[in-house]
Amino acid sequence: MLYREAGQFKTSYLADSAIFPIRQDRIGIALILAIAFVGVPLVATPYFFSAILIPFLILSLAAIGLNILTGYAGQLSLGSAAFMAVGAFASFNFIARIPGIPMLVAFAAGGLVAAAVGIVFGLPSLRIRGFYLAVATLAAQFFIIWFLTKVPWVTNYNASGVITAQPIVILGYRFDSPPAKYLLVLSIVALMALAAKNMTRGNLGRKWMAIRDMDVAAEVIGIPQMRTKLLAFAVSSFYCGVAGALFAYAYLGTVEPEAYNLDLSFRILFMVIIGGVGTILGSFLGSAFIVLTPIVLNTTVTWLDAHTPVHIPASAGSNLEVVVFGVLIIAFLILEPHGLARLWSIGKEKLRLWPFPH
């Protein structure tokens, strides 16, 4: 009975509406934050920072963005990566064209530009839904990447189309070591995740879910569909935009349209599906899963190749990845549409009863 809510009676609605009403959860989250901010930097290797932790965090942020739009507001989007690209390129231009602009301001402004573009591409959602909306966002994906590739102004007339990202300097400090970048990304992601949790647990989150579950009924109780949907597009694209800027500046080190292709949009969608549609926690779980699975598969394949008589070609790892993802997506869609986050809460439910089964 390590995990119980018994004896923890809520004496006020304030306590009841807290983000983590159960004490063990609060301890858990404090522990995770302590480990993430203090423990990890002490032990992690540069490879671990650059290849695993930083992309995991950045993609979690993008997944939160998509989850707000798709999981909460019910508007399917296949254009997340394009909105990330808008954030990255907008930040690049702010930094390149406005001398002395603080880096964080540039990232936030990049997010705002992405939000504005998100609103424009969200307009069709007022008329069409489901499959047709997905196709419209797919068009956004292709159009935006095409635009960024074809209009020389956005790449500052850079001939190759691949721009080296300016170094991240905040208050005179250069964030160029992997742990420094990691801590910066972690701070931004933690704060934005908290903000997302706040939005989704209150009135705004309920309005989004109301539109998702039954839009006519939502209108009838006074929720303006247009405003609420477009706000979801804006907030979601803001999150994707900031994630895109971080992706370029803290992960890739370059700003290039190709990094934000349809493939990335799908990976973010898979994170949401596998992690859990309509949960903030699920965005992290899904991201961890999608980032780690290929690494684990590749390591396994290499190990098997080296330590067993079977010869496995190096390409098997990436092929296996495609197969495993495909199977998992289908399995989750059929068996557990609420993803890892639901499995987690079922696990907690079991733990609550443990060791007594009834």
Binding site: Y13, L14, D16, S17, A195, A196, N198, M199, G202, N203, L204, R206, K207, M209, A210, R212, D213, M214, V216, A217, A218, E219, V220, I221, G222, I223, P224, Q225, L231, V235, G278
Partner: protein, 278 residues
């Protein structure tokens, strides 16, 4: 859609309602409303009024246009002709969310709850118009965001107590039996503290006990909060028991209007219910 109950006396004594609540002036006037879907005339030149604090029933056979009438009143459908005057303001049509802002709430014939949300969240959603915090305040959980959440939670808990659904507060609505879902939908409508409450067959598909509970709730809402209620119901016993006045529709036309006893004695109404050819 439920069966049309025949016009017969009910098992329960159907004495005229004690008029403790005095109906006031006209709060809603429906004037010459006509609505058609392509060739289908759902409503033809319908006029009637609803007085403050009364319970006004709309009855009629399947397809008579009852639900369409409610949909016109709160803006889901736009009539081709006619005006709706609510609290003295005449209008041809209105946005549904504006109607909500003016104090009109409703329930649906086919339950329209938010399936992915808990009972508590569904009811809290009913209070969205009273929560003014901007999304920035909500993201930072400061100022109005926090205070409004708490203040409105108090009101919602009051409604939860009133409708006796404390035990299912945390349950996702999709898992509830039909009768309880109907009650939660009423709770969501009440959460808006409406001036005018439109109920589309609130008792359809319920067993006798659930129906009695629902009747009691409707009467209590009407008496305690003074809410004006327009109610569609097929169960004649219920209609005769709880309504002050009744409008009868048939094939989109109004064929009767008056106090329950008069309507029941009306030959056109009896014919409509017995299916006499037109």
């Amino acid at each position: 859609m439920s069966e049309v109950a025949p016009v017969t006396a009910t098992s329960r004594p159907s004495a005229p309602r004690a008029s403790a609540r005095t109906a006031g002036g006209v709060i809603l006037a429906v004037d010459h409303i006509s609505l058609a879907f392509g060739g289908v005339k759902a409503l033809t030149d319908i006029s009637f009024d609803v007085r403050e604090h009364e319970i006004r029933a709309i009855i009629g056979p399947n397809g008579a246009g009852k639900s369409s009438m409610l949909n016109v009143i709160n803006g889901v459908y736009r009539p081709q002709h006619g005006t709706i005057t609510f609290r003295g303001v005449p209008r041809h049509d209105v946005n549904t969310h504006e109607a909500a802002a003016q104090g009109i709430a409703r329930t649906f014939q086919n339950i329209a709850l938010f399936k992915g949300m808990s009972v508590l969240d569904n009811i809290m959603t009913g209070r969205n118009l009273r929560m003014k915090a901007t999304f920035v305040e909500q993201a930072l959980w400061i100022g109005r965001a926090r205070n409004e959440e708490l203040a409105n939670r108090h009101k919602v808990e009051e409604i939860i107590d009133f409708l006796e659904i404390q035990h299912i507060r945390r349950t996702p609505v999709g898992r509830l039996p039909y009768g309880l879902q109907k009650r939660v939908e009423l709770a969501r409508a009440l959460a808006a503290e409406p001036v005018l409450l439109l109920l589309d067959e609130p008792m359809a598909g319920m067993n006798v006990e659930e129906k009695q509970d629902m009747c009691r709730f409707i009467l209590d809402v009407n008496e305690q909060y003074g809410t004006t209620i327009v109610l569609i119901e097929h169960d004649m016993g219920v209609v005769m028991d709880i309504s002050d006045r009744v409008v009868v529709l048939d094939y989109g036309k109004k064929i009767g209007d008056g106090v329950p006893a008069d309507v029941r004695a009306n030959q056109a109404v009896i014919d409509a219910y017995l299916g006499v050819a037109h």
